[in-house]
Symmetry: C2
Subunit: 334 residues, 2 copies
Amino acid sequence: MNKLTNECIRVASRPAGIPAAENFRRTTEAVPDMQPGQILVQNQWLSIEPAMRGWLADANNYSSVPVGDVMRSLSVGTVMESSADGFSRGDQVMGWFGWQHYAVVRPSAVVQKITAGDLAPSLYLGVLGLNGITAATALDKLGQPQAGETVVVSTAAGGVGSCVGQLAKALGCRTIGLTSTPEKAQACKNEFGYDHVINYKTDDISAALKAACPDGINVYYDNTSGQISDAVLPQLAIGARVIICGTAAITSWDPAPMGPRVERILLTRRARMQGFILFDHMDTYASYVRQLEDMVRAGTLNHREHITDGLDTAMGAIQELYRSQNLGKRLVRL
Amino acid sequence: MNKLTNECIRVASRPAGIPAAENFRRTTEAVPDMQPGQILVQNQWLSIEPAMRGWLADANNYSSVPVGDVMRSLSVGTVMESSADGFSRGDQVMGWFGWQHYAVVRPSAVVQKITAGDLAPSLYLGVLGLNGITAATALDKLGQPQAGETVVVSTAAGGVGSCVGQLAKALGCRTIGLTSTPEKAQACKNEFGYDHVINYKTDDISAALKAACPDGINVYYDNTSGQISDAVLPQLAIGARVIICGTAAITSWDPAPMGPRVERILLTRRARMQGFILFDHMDTYASYVRQLEDMVRAGTLNHREHITDGLDTAMGAIQELYRSQNLGKRLVRL
């Protein structure tokens, strides 16, 4: 391997709906020269996120990746060379290094240095990364769950959802998970400790929720929007908190699809719906990492990884996420 | 007038949409005997509230008035007789005394004793009553407006909206009012100090908001839902707060009407929508009354009253509220 040659996945076109392999192209190019204050990272693990669909969407998103750019991604890698303060050759880092073998970046691209040597580095892209920290931060700050309350999670077996369920359970909540396949339902019960699991593709969601939540729903951690939310929201309890963390069930927001208006529910239940994006909460990132590291070490935070090998496998991976073909954090190993 | 004879308005039938005169009936009956611990109040002022539509609606409301009961209402009256601690003949009180001349109630029905002798008692049903205290409490606790922010108010000339606009302006916000007639628009500008006024019946709401709120909307105080909200919500700024205080634009919630889904807006703007009902905040009621009394005395909180005389005029008054036929707090003088 020539250290100066890089393999990259660049954005080739803007997808209309879910990004597919044909929206990307693989390139072979020289690794850029390092400038003063930069670091050279060799990636070992690339992350695939549901949020990537949003990053590639055209309109009205908080952060779009331009066509032609290397695909934005969190990655875990090793510092090969550094002219930046605080970074040395051999450091393990997690950050915005993109879908490529090598990245030349400023220290601001690093989300965290991985200092706990006892835990697998790939975990920092999943249960100890964006997924886990999103779950912990949003549940804590927006959901504010109290012991004895009922917490409902859409995409309950997913990277974020499975953490939410376990964190809520650890706080003494009753947890209800919504998922899409018998295999995922099994994992929700056996690995992620949900008290009740509802298959939203085969069950009558409203009836199943009514049976599982006789006193209403106190916290709804929503990763989907759509028909699942239409069934959940009318069953909110007084003072309920709804965390809007993702909208995976909606293929296009341009224009916004129609759904039942929510104002009367929010009013009569004095409920709150609030959008959450982790990047607003980076000041507390490290403290939530430490909390979850302790749970992983204690064996009280189960998690799964779904790994494929080789840069090329990244290109079709976003589409797989939306086809319910994955269970656990989707990773590409280089 | 025989002190033992009462004139009452009772609920005759449950309205399908907006309560009309035919949903009530007038009765003449004996004033009930007082029990120990009760007080006898002679009403001087009755309140007409948009919320009464909700109190009379069948389904899914936080508090319905049973058919046959005296219509629930806040009133201002004078204590005629008391066997309750803390109340004496001659006390002025505001509370849940209903659409009737006399009420025999427990002290828990009293919302407040009116102790400030310098202000007109009717104000305690309007700018110093449910309307003003709703505006002050919801804007402060849920809206959390900061100086320099943009605050949009639907039903800007109404009892709640006109207070919201003035309170937000006093806090240093830019205020944008949505209202329905040229007369109300005039009042919004001249009496309630709005920086911009939009007539939602004749203006292009989206275009007018875009022009008036170039940096987006930080606080939306919503009394309507419906098409006004559909125009406001896409223009929320990052971190916006939406207060759901009423849904006057929607005639029936059974089933909920369809509208554009809001999740993507809440997510991308990290915005919050929250329902507000004053009765959850009675612990802070008195302190907001004192704050608004000071503003009324200082002449910095303008308000209007729309008064009709006689118990019978109450029956059609709710319908008038929804026909945009009123400007200012709707009151019945007995």
